[in-house]
Symmetry: C2
Subunit: 173 residues, 2 copies
């Protein structure tokens, strides 16, 4: 039975690495990616820095920077249990990925802004300027649409939860 636990542990860590790789492709740094993947996949709902270090088998130093980033971006919320001398990192289940996409929106804004300044300098008369203007328009469009998508998520989320709650084994519509 101890073997079962170990096996699951290994499976979990393997998955964490795989998932972290995907997160890295999405723009996260390696260690934040690992920490986030681990915190999501393991069963606790709050972790100390030490938990994360031991769980992942990495040095506490590596955790420090990772959690700082994850808190800043909004994946983690830093908490403190009274009478404990270590911070607790709990992932903000509710808006977790909405936050992530919101951050992307900011990035989109920078995009639009950067291109806009280029259009100003080059002028829309030239072919290059025209292309840039179209690119900017698309990014702006995307930004608006994404906002709408985010707004629709809570309802969809509730719908999914309701479906799961009402009939667990239903297969079709």
């Amino acid at each position: 039975m101890a073997d079962d636990g170990d096996g699951e542990r290994i499976a979990l860590l393997r998955f964490v690495e795989r998932f972290a790789l995907t997160l890295r492709e999405a723009g996260l740094a390696p260690m934040p990616a690992r920490v986030l993947a681990y915190a999501l996949a393991d069963d606790a709902d709050r972790y100390t820095a030490g938990d994360l270090a031991r769980g992942l088998g990495v040095s506490p130093a590596a955790i420090s920077g990772a959690v700082r980033y994850l808190v800043q971006v909004g994946f983690f919320v830093r908490e403190r249990e009274p009478g404990t001398r270590s911070d607790l990192y709990v992932l903000d289940d509710q808006d977790l990925w909405s936050r992530f996409v919101s951050a992307e929106l900011t990035s989109l804004d920078r995009f639009v802004q950067a291109i806009d300044s280029g259009v100003e300098v080059l002028g829309v008369e030239r072919p290059g300027g025209r292309r840039l203007a179209e690119t900017r328009d698309f990014m702006a469009f995307l930004r608006v649409e994404m906002t709408g998508v985010l707004a629709r998520w809570p309802a969809e989320r509730a719908r999914l939860a309701a479906d799961r709650g009402e009939v667990t084994s239903r297969r079709s519509g």
Copy 2:
């Protein structure tokens, strides 16, 4: 007047660097980012590898890998003028950024797939598995919504073009 040309050239290259930086944040490698930014911002609608190398002031070797990537992703289309011995790279104006987002969709698919395998291994009964399942659901939702957004773009694009075409100096309404 030669100074004007040089000044514009410098301004263009400065913008290219700035824009390329934003593109890198969006996931592109440095050189592809520069090449794409330059091809968009400069006035030609087709470039040889040599054009890009000279225009950016980098070695032809650096261009080679960049255009290969950009062609693969769909930003560039490789063409060949009869009687010429150099390939021409022309940016596919029409679907340029739609393609880009489409690529992101594929990335989202990998996301969903990676998480899904994790859910299988860990099971949805455990808190970790449940969290993963919710993450997967969000990503899947995002994927569907993004497809819709892309579908809406052509109409919006046409609308913007019509607005610009009909009245150039209109400010409101």
